[in-house]
């Protein structure tokens, strides 16, 4: 097992957003997190990558155990170097070109020599089909191109897992396809991915595991085939039906 979280709790003021979430990801798994709006999916990912401090919870990463509520800055920084995050709104560095967006984390963050960082960045950009736009700034790229660049930035350092938070929901339908196909390709290459998504087609065909969340808890989790074909919980069934209609 690569990643496991247990008993994650998080409140914003009086609003209890996560109420004891549990979830695990094996190496090579593509885990899709589904659930209605407001169920706490984004908050969970943000807690797992320490962008939000959980009130309670245990994280096990690569055999190391951490208390999410008492994570030190040093441990957070160390784990972040083994992971990557793809945001709904891309969040490319606006003052950097596509290539620099990818090299920044390698050169500044991981102290990789410039030459090999640029090589790795160009390979990553090539993989997402953005090599010909390497010198463009984010403002000169379409949403789909920005998100593919963000994926290149995420994979360039060969992370052990990539977290995606609704990577296509800010995109027009035509641009969604190009991003999903890049993600599908990553999945085929064995990249471990934890993906919050509303794209049920993607979850059904690409993910190996599905986690269905509602009201801050995991309602049901299992192999994606089983969840889609024979969901055990009524809530899951209702969600999959209304969403597909």
């Amino acid at each position: 097992m690569l990643l496991r979280v247990e008993n994650v709790h998080k409140s914003f003021g009086a609003l209890e957003v996560l109420r004891g979430v549990e979830l695990s990801v094996d190496k090579g798994d593509v885990v899709a997190i589904l659930g209605p709006s407001g169920s706490g999916k984004t908050t969970l990912l943000r807690c797992v990558n320490f962008l939000e401090r959980a009130d309670e919870g245990i994280l096990t990463f690569d055999g190391e155990r951490f208390d999410l509520a008492r994570m030190s800055k040093r441990d957070a920084a160390r784990l972040r170097k083994k992971t990557a995050f793809v945001f709904q709104s891309y969040n490319l560095f606006l003052n950097k070109t596509a290539l620099e967006n990818v090299t920044e984390g390698l050169i500044t963050g991981r102290r990789i020599p410039k030459g090999s960082a640029v090589d790795a960045a160009r390979r990553a950009l090539d993989k997402v089909g953005m090599l010909d736009r390497a010198d463009h700034y984010p403002s000169q790229l379409s949403g789909g191109q920005q998100q593919r660049t963000a994926i290149a930035r995420a994979i360039a350092a060969q992370p052990e897992i990539v977290y995606f938070d609704e990577p296509t929901s800010a995109l027009d339908p035509e641009l969604t396809g190009e991003v999903l196909s890049v993600m599908r390709q990553l999945a085929e290459e064995g990249m471990t991915m934890l993906v919050v998504t509303h794209e049920l087609g993607f979850a059904r065909t690409v993910s190996s595991q599905v986690v269905f969340m509602e009201g801050g808890v995991v309602v049901e989790a299992g192999p994606s085939r089983q969840i889609f074909e024979a969901p055990r919980q009524a809530r899951t069934r209702a969600f999959l039906q209304t969403d597909q209609a």
């Binding site: 972040r80 963050g109 350092a157």
Partner: protein, 224 residues
């Protein structure tokens, strides 16, 4: 225009311009550079909410923005000797202009830092940069791009404000003009003349601001 007046203007021109080049501009350049260091440091400390230092910065900004520049000059130059601290006119002016300008520019830079989308910091952390690395490489450059026009404004205003240093015996352009006027008594012509030289300085700086904005703006231009 009678020829006596013309002679006075021609004769006084270098006598005003030279203090402009040797006093007004260096005073502006030195004080503004120090002010930038203060401004960026104070803005970053507040942005990162460093305890104690944030409160000290707030107090400093409150005092220097809330009192007249001329009063600050008088306190330092005429007041401080009372407690045994005597400072020569030019350094006194440098100190006051730096602190005063630093207080205003700190607010400009802080606002610019806060205008950078929070996703930029999160993306930096997730890409494996430390907080400080993200500030230095991502947030601060974007903030300085935003702050550039208002900071240029402050710089241009400062060139003119240095004329207040005349009040603490710094012989900058205005005081040099006053000295000439005391001899020849042509206040209208001479003060218009010095005004035009200030206008010339401001115009050059405005032009430099445009060039600077073009360069910094590279990443914002659509197209290519």
């Amino acid at each position: 225009m009678d020829s006596r007046l013309l002679d006075i203007l021609v004769d006084s021109f270098p006598k005003i311009l030279i203090p402009g080049l040797t006093v007004t501009l260096p005073l502006t350049a030195i004080a503004f550079s120090i002010a930038m260091v203060i401004a960026v440091a104070a803005a970053l400390a507040q942005f990162a909410r460093v305890p104690v230092i944030t409160q000290i910065c707030r107090l400093y900004i409150w005092i220097f923005r809330g009192t007249p520049l001329l009063v600050q000059l008088f306190v330092v130059f005429f007041g401080m000797p009372k407690i045994g601290i005597t400072i020569a006119p030019f350094p006194a002016a440098v100190i006051v202009f730096s602190l005063n300008e630093g207080a205003y520019c700190a607010e400009t830079v802080r606002a610019a830092l806060e205008s950078v989308p929070s996703g930029q910091l999160e993306a930096g952390l997730c890409a494996g940069l430390s907080y400080l690395q993200t500030m230095r490489r991502i947030i601060l450059p974007q903030a300085m791009r935003t702050a550039f026009p208002p900071l240029s404004n402050s710089l241009i205003a400062m060139v003119k404000d240095t004329s207040l240093a005349a009040n603490i015996t710094v012989v900058e352009m205005l005081r040099a003009t006053e000295q000439i006027n005391a001899r020849v008594y042509e206040p209208l012509a001479l003060y218009i003349e010095v005004g035009l030289i200030y206008l010339l300085f401001s115009t050059v700086l405005t032009w430099l601001q445009r060039v600077g904005e073009k360069r910094l703006g590279a990443y914002e231009n659509r197209g290519v």
